[in-house]
């Protein structure tokens, strides 16, 4: 982790809104979301199910479903708007590590061939170059016996090894940014730790930026320089990871962290549920569940306030103390 000021961003998500047409009406999945990933930094996106993490990631990867509308916003990568001009070349510069290493490889093809196919589409060079590079990548992700690994089928690898294969695949086209979707949730803690250490080392060695989508604050604390907390498709809070975890300011972040078993004084949960994307409340989307909500919270969405130390909070009342019963 690195505490020096953030350089100009590699990836910038600017006031992005994504809506989906559904049978139940228009689902406002993301609303006015901004986020930056500076070169060489690791940025975490955290939130519970239904907060829009997956849609944000899909927008960045250029794989939004056909029913998606983008009424506002832009995604800039290396200075170009990749939302408007989804040139395939830009995609090769963004690698992706999926969530489930068991479901993300086709069982009937050799794992090596599946990665070579990606390289054939996106990376320059001959098949021989690609093979040589892949063996070097297998060595970098510490797969045992890299030459032999090229000939193996997915079932011949353990879960941790499959995640290493997928990390090699994400790196195969020399990306500047790697987007990782909860890459360790399907793994045991000891394997998780090895994979997190590997990602940290590879990012440092290759000067990679990482965008890490997770719901696990422990993983966030271990890996990310800064964090953006999403709630119901909006940014609730963002800032340096340690500052946000040590002193959360938004009432949602405060209540959520109070649910963590390492921290909870008593197990409470947050009353109510995350609203459906087709029925978002007016004003602040958290206000129906918020213990410090005031009348004005239901009027207009709160602006993202900038605070010292690179932090932003979408709550005008963030200085108010939470009532004791909520945290008791």
């Amino acid at each position: 982790m690195n505490d020096s000021p953030m350089p100009s961003p590699l990836l910038a998500v600017e006031a992005l809104s994504v809506h989906l047409r559904t049978d139940a009406g228009l689902a406002r999945i993301l609303d006015d979301v901004s986020l930056t990933v500076p070169p060489g930094r690791t940025v975490g996106v955290v939130g519970e199910s239904g907060c829009g993490k997956t849609t944000l990631m899909r927008a960045i990867l250029g794989i939004l479903p056909r029913s998606a509308l983008v009424p506002r916003g832009a995604i800039r990568f290396e200075g170009r708007d990749i939302l408007a001009d989804c040139a395939a070349s830009a995609r090769g510069r963004i690698g992706f590590v999926p969530q489930d290493p068991y479901l993300s490889l086709n069982p009937v093809f050799r794992a090596g061939d599946q990665i070579l196919e990606i390289m054939r589409r996106h990376a320059p060079g001959t098949r021989r170059d690609h093979r040589a590079k892949l063996i070097e990548l297998f060595r970098a992700v510490q797969l045992p016996d890299p030459e032999a690994a090229l000939e193996k089928y997915p079932h011949q690898f353990s879960g941790g090894q499959r995640q290493r294969l997928l990390i090699a695949a994400a790196l195969s086209c020399d990306p500047a940014l790697v987007v990782a979707d909860e890459p360790t949730t399907a793994l045991d803690v000891t394997t998780q730790r090895e994979i997190l250490a590997l990602l940290r080392r590879l990012a440092a060695e290759r000067g990679l930026s990482l965008l890490f989508v997770t719901h696990d604050f422990g993983v966030l604390a271990a890996l990310c320089d800064s964090v953006t907390v999403l709630y119901a498709g909006r940014v609730a809070e963002s800032g340096p990871t340690r500052a946000v975890l040590d002193a959360p300011r938004h009432p949602y972040t405060r209540l959520l962290l109070a649910c963590h078993p390492d921290r909870a004084s008593d197990l409470t949960g947050i009353p109510g549920t995350v609203p459906a994307a087709t029925a978002q409340p007016a004003g602040c989307r958290f206000h129906p569940r918020c213990p410090i909500a005031r009348a004005d919270c239901a009027n207009a969405p709160p602006p993202l306030l900038s605070l010292p130390g690179g932090r932003s909070i979408a709550c005008p009342h963030h200085a108010d103390a939470l009532p004791e019963p909520a945290l008791a």
């Binding site: 353990s158 045991d188 803690v189 730790r193 422990g218 271990a222 409470t268 949960g269």
Partner: protein
């Protein structure tokens, strides 16, 4: 392996995939026959039976499935699934079934109207509550909870853990809590057993085991868990979890153990009491450095 669970306690079982947690649960339930050894329930021997008979003798032991959505029939309304369990256990009167379902749904914090819903209409937390209601209907004494918080969001997890605690007090339940989430286990369990490749390598009160882990494997497991304070503690554990098809000789952990000596490959370590109510199976537990982890 030996294991004793006291009435009213929450007994945690932790370990990596393939360590035998689920097999242990299946054997306790009677779904799988034991190869050797005895199982006693309230002092009565319930082992050595054919599976059907074993299951009948252990009706007081019930199991909450790891994935409650997969354990519900998608074509059946929840109420019908709940009533089926009662019918199997001899409660066939419709009125009594309905009364017990209403009472149990209220106990797990759900509205009676939920009984008319289909599983896909429920959230993850609601499915979890239905899974609990389903076994509470049968008035069990021992409940085996298999990864009860896997896949739940933090805020829902907190509510489910609180509910489990309240139900234990209200119905006088004993829990066997199978989990790989060490933060949760530390938080809710009274005693904990750590399993590795089908053996219990360490067992003790949750407080003692987390404060002063004695077995090198327990120490590696605790060190690997991501912590909110971001502190990575201790050495990492090399290698993948081994397979039961190739069980190492001697201590089963020795190929991955940084402290292994030739004795470890030759001889299976016996369980020894490291402290009162703290058992460890390691030749070298006395040499494990006992630097204290933080108490929080």
């Amino acid at each position: 392996m030996d294991l004793a669970v006291a009435p009213g306690e929450t007994f945690g079982i932790v370990g990596e995939s393939g360590c035998g947690k689920t097999t242990l649960a299946r054997t306790l339930l009677g779904l799988q026959r034991e190869a050797a050894g005895e199982i006693l329930l309230e002092g009565r021997v319930v082992s050595g039976q054919e599976p059907v008979a074993a299951r009948r003798m252990r009706a007081a032991v019930q199991y909450v499935h790891q994935d409650p959505g997969a354990a519900l029939d998608p074509w059946w309304r929840v109420g019908r699934t709940l009533a089926e369990g009662l019918a199997i256990h001899g409660v066939t009167d419709r009125a009594e079934q309905e009364a017990r379902i209403a009472e149990t749904l209220a106990a797990v914090g759900l509205d009676v109207a939920m009984a008319a819903r289909y599983p896909h209409e429920l959230s993850g937390g609601q499915q979890r509550r239905i899974g609990l209601a389903r076994i509470l209907l049968l008035r069990p004494k021992v409940v085996i909870l298999d990864e009860p918080t896997a896949g739940l969001d933090l805020s829902v997890q907190a509510a489910v853990l609180r509910l489990l605690r309240d139900l234990r007090a209200r119905f006088g339940l004993t829990y066997i809590f199978i989990s790989h989430d060490l933060s949760v286990v530390r938080r809710v369990c009274d005693r904990v057993a750590v399993m590795y490749l089908g053996r219990i390598v360490e067992e003790g009160s949750a407080e003692a085991l987390f404060r002063e882990p004695r077995h090198p494997y327990t120490r590696a497991l605790l060190a690997a868990a991501p912590r909110l304070d971001g502190q990575a503690a201790g050495p990492s554990l090399p290698g993948d979890p081994p397979s039961l098809r190739a069980v190492p000789s001697g201590c089963r952990f020795h190929p991955r153990c940084a402290m292994a000596v030739p004795l470890c490959a030759a001889q299976d370590p016996a369980s020894e009491a490291a402290a009162p109510d703290h058992i460890v199976a390691c030749h070298r537990w006395r040499d494990v450095p006992t630097e204290h982890r933080d108490a929080a």
